[in-house]
């Protein structure tokens, strides 16, 4: 018996844009969403951020992509239906979904509000859901997700600027908290001023932390200091500047996903300082052991955050009026946006205006 087509798989029609192959080029795609189960929340998608991971996945750069692939895990919208056992949301609420739509709910990680580290976590797109079907992300008109994986967007946050917080935001917020880089008096370096980096600067400043942006582009200096509020700016190729900053940072959040040398970054850390990688280079990096040992330093990683912390992050952003700096685009601009993203040509996140421009 032939497998059901994407349109027939589930009862409710849906429409979005999908990549069909490793070229990563996206085009209109008819598919379907499941019935709103008793614990599910269905919502009309209004905006979806374009995360660099969407680009990696659309092109199968990590080898895990299933086509057709509807990307998008920085999704915000308005609730249209709630299941009978849903307690936290009602129709009309402004909500969001990030990178996760399922987990096992019984392992150590899940029991500790760390669904993002659950060995059976289910990603928002290109993953296998509990019912065996493939998940489709937010470059689409509607979403259905388990209430556990939905966050509330407070009224004072503009939806378009809030969307990127659902991945970029939590990805930098979580390690700032976990590695104790969130108190006044602490000095944090942020490597890379892109989607993740610019939000990291905003969060860290709101936490009272001194922030130095470390970038390969001198052209971003004025932005960093005047617009984002960073305290200082280091060009990573400037030997003198880097030398002067040796041993000055309690921690560094490294957002760069390309292969790059971490030795100079380890040098910037104080004794017992922590280098936290949140970008995920595909190949191993070189770890010089002497500097690690002689300074008792640490290299760690962090991946998004659990659902409880994601809500906490959104509430923190609302309280401090933090949103991402975005360029709103129409759905049919998405392939051009992807090409520009590849060159880092965006300040600092594209957000698709799904509500107004996704049309069949």
């Amino acid at each position: 018996m032939a497998a059901k087509s994407h349109e027939e798989e589930h009862p409710n029609k849906a429409f979005g844009w999908a990549a069909r192959d490793q070229s990563g080029v996206l085009s209109p795609f008819q598919f379907s969403r499941r019935v709103t189960g008793e614990k599910d929340v269905a919502f009309k998608v209004l905006f979806c951020g374009i995360c660099h991971s969407d680009l990696h996945m659309a092109k199968n750069e990590w080898g895990t992509s299933t086509y057709p692939l509807v990307p998008g895990h920085e999704i915000v919208g308005q609730v249209t239906e709630v299941g009978s056992k849903v307690e936290k949301f009602k129709v009309g609420d402004k909500v969001g979904v990030g990178c996760l739509v399922g987990s096992c709910h019984s392992c150590d990680s899940c029991s500790n509000n760390l669904e993002n580290y659950c060995p059976e976590l289910i990603l928002t797109y290109s993953a296998k859901y509990h019912d065996g079907t493939i998940t489709y992300g937010g470059y689409s008109d509607i979403m259905v997700a388990d209430e556990h994986f939905i966050v509330r967007i407070p009224d004072n946050l503009p939806l378009d600027g809030a969307a990127p917080l659902l991945c970029a935001g939590i990805t930098v917020y979580s390690p700032l908290r976990f590695f104790d880089l969130d108190k006044p008096g602490i000095h944090v370096g942020v490597v890379g001023l892109g989607g993740l980096g610019h939000v990291a600067v905003k969060f860290a400043k709101a936490m009272g932390v001194k922030v130095t942006v470390i970038s390969t582009s001198p052209s971003k200096k004025q932005e960093a200091l005047e617009h984002l509020g960073a305290d200082s700016f280091l060009v990573s190729r400037d030997q003198d500047g880097m030398q002067a900053a040796v041993g000055t940072m309690d921690g560094i959040i490294d957002t760069v996903s390309a292969t790059h040398p971490i030795s100079p970054l380890i040098g910037l850390l104080k004794t017992r300082g922590k280098l936290v990688l949140v970008g995920a280079p595909a190949k191993p990096l070189e770890l010089p052991v002497f500097p690690l040992l002689l300074g008792g330093k640490v290299v760690g990683g962090s991946g998004i955050g659990g659902m409880k912390e994601t809500q906490e992050m959104i509430d923190f952003a609302a309280k401090n009026n933090i949103t991402a700096d975005i360029e709103v685009i129409s759905m049919d601009y998405v392939n051009t946006a992807m090409e520009r993203l590849l060159k880092g040509d965006v300040r600092y996140r594209f957000v698709i205006d799904i509500g107004n421009t996704l049309k069949i």
């Binding site: 150590d108 990680s109 760390l114 580290y117 060995p119 976990f178 041993g247 971490i262 030795s263 004794t271 017992r272 922590k274 990688l277 949140v278 970008g279 995920a280 280079p281 595909a282 191993p284 990096l285 070189e286 770890l287 010089p288 052991v289 002497f290 500097p291 690690l292 040992l293 002689l294 300074g295 008792g296 330093k297 640490v298 290299v299 760690g300 990683g301 962090s302 991946g303």
Partner: protein
């Protein structure tokens, strides 16, 4: 014109030194400074042979200066104390480890972290404040600032205690700092040598479940029956390694050769910590995905401060922990170094300085 090592300081001293990158040691006459107001003079009884001594005599790290008298696991007795010395008196049994001085005024020195002081001075192959070279414990006497001397607890054998002054503190400090002390948690120890075997003993004293991870199965019985490890994992056995994925809270990696970290990262649970203590001459490959997807971390640690070194010795005394040693004569040192290079020792050589050094002068 620079003074010769014999004339540099007022008090004659004798030891064995490496003269070049061959690393071969031979008798060497030099001198020690006057005992200053805060110094103690120590007649050396034992000195452990640390793998770092081997790296250093062969200039494997590129900063060796010859002639070099190695040795930073020193046990001896006090023969003289300066007028300001408060903690020690003549005849006390004491130890000296990896450092002999620091700036004493920076934030690290103030936090009892002399090991992280930017001006910390190593026991050998470093430069004193007066510009002269430091010489280590493969010698008959040493003069050290009292702050860098620890008391050897009563009842502890001098030879078994010597290796604790480097190997012991090197594993104890990160175990405390990275929180590897919760009873019931699971610690993996990579490499069963000088550092590794002490880590097993200290790990068991903390109430941890301990798995020894080694590249060969020949150490299994030792690890389980004699050292008290709970289990043994052969790192070259893919099936056994896979079965152990995601089971360890912490890993102490004592291997000093260049080696792959990826398999050990897989053994860690989420939020697991791998602390690397060996000093390979080249960088290691660090895969980032496991760090990001599991919030794991790789940390380093370098011996420990003086307060913590004393705390470690007292902890070992309380739990009857000493190193497993093979005592050798001074003139056997070159053979011992060759055997150490092949890991042919259970688990530390210790030079019986008091009973064999002066004889080697003849």
């Amino acid at each position: 014109m620079a003074k010769s090592p014999e004339e540099e300081h007022p008090h004659k001293a004798f030891g064995w030194a490496a003269k070049d990158t061959s690393g071969i040691l031979s008798p060497f006459h030099f001198s020690r400074r006057d005992n200053g107001v805060e110094d103690v003079t120590i007649k050396i009884l034992y000195c452990g042979v640390c793998h770092s001594d081997l790296h250093a005599v062969k200039n494997e790290w590129g900063f060796s200066r010859y002639p070099m008298v190695p040795g930073h696991e020193i046990v001896g007795v006090v023969t003289k104390t300066g007028s300001n010395v408060m903690k020690f008196k003549v005849d006390d049994r004491v130890g000296v480890g990896v450092m002999v001085n620091s700036c004493k005024s920076c934030e690290y020195c103030h936090q009892d972290l002399e090991n992280y002081c930017p001006k910390m001075i190593f026991t050998y192959n470093a430069q004193n404040h007066d510009g002269t070279k430091t010489y280590g414990g493969y010698s008959n006497t040493i003069v050290v600032d009292e702050r860098f001397v620890v008391r050897i607890p009563d009842g502890m054998p001098g030879d078994g205690c010597a290796p604790l002054l480097c190997a012991g503190i090197t594993v104890y400090s990160p175990m405390k700092y990275y929180g590897m002390t919760e009873p019931g948690k699971h610690l993996g120890i990579v490499g069963l040598g000088g550092l590794g075997h002490v880590a097993v003993k200290i790990g068991k004293a903390f109430g941890l479940k301990v798995t020894v991870i080694s590249s060969s199965s020949r150490k299994e019985r030792e690890a389980l029956d004699r050292l008290g490890a709970d289990s043994f994992l052969v790192s070259n056995d893919p099936a056994k390694m896979k079965a152990a994925f995601g089971t360890m809270d912490y890993i102490i990696d004592t291997v000093s050769a260049v080696h792959a970290l990826a398999p050990f990262l897989s053994l860690l649970k989420t939020n697991g910590k791998l602390v690397t203590l060996g000093l390979p001459e080249k960088p290691l490959e660090l895969p980032i995905f496991p760090l990001v997807l599991g919030r794991k971390l790789v940390g380093g640690s370098d011996v420990g401060g003086m307060k913590e070194t004393q705390e470690m010795l007292d902890f070992c005394a309380k739990h009857n922990i000493t190193a497993d040693v093979e005592v050798i004569q001074m003139d056997q040192i070159n053979t011992a170094m060759e055997r150490l290079a092949k890991s042919d020792v259970r688990y530390r050589f210790v030079i019986d300085v008091a009973n064999s050094l002066s004889q080697s002068q003849l």
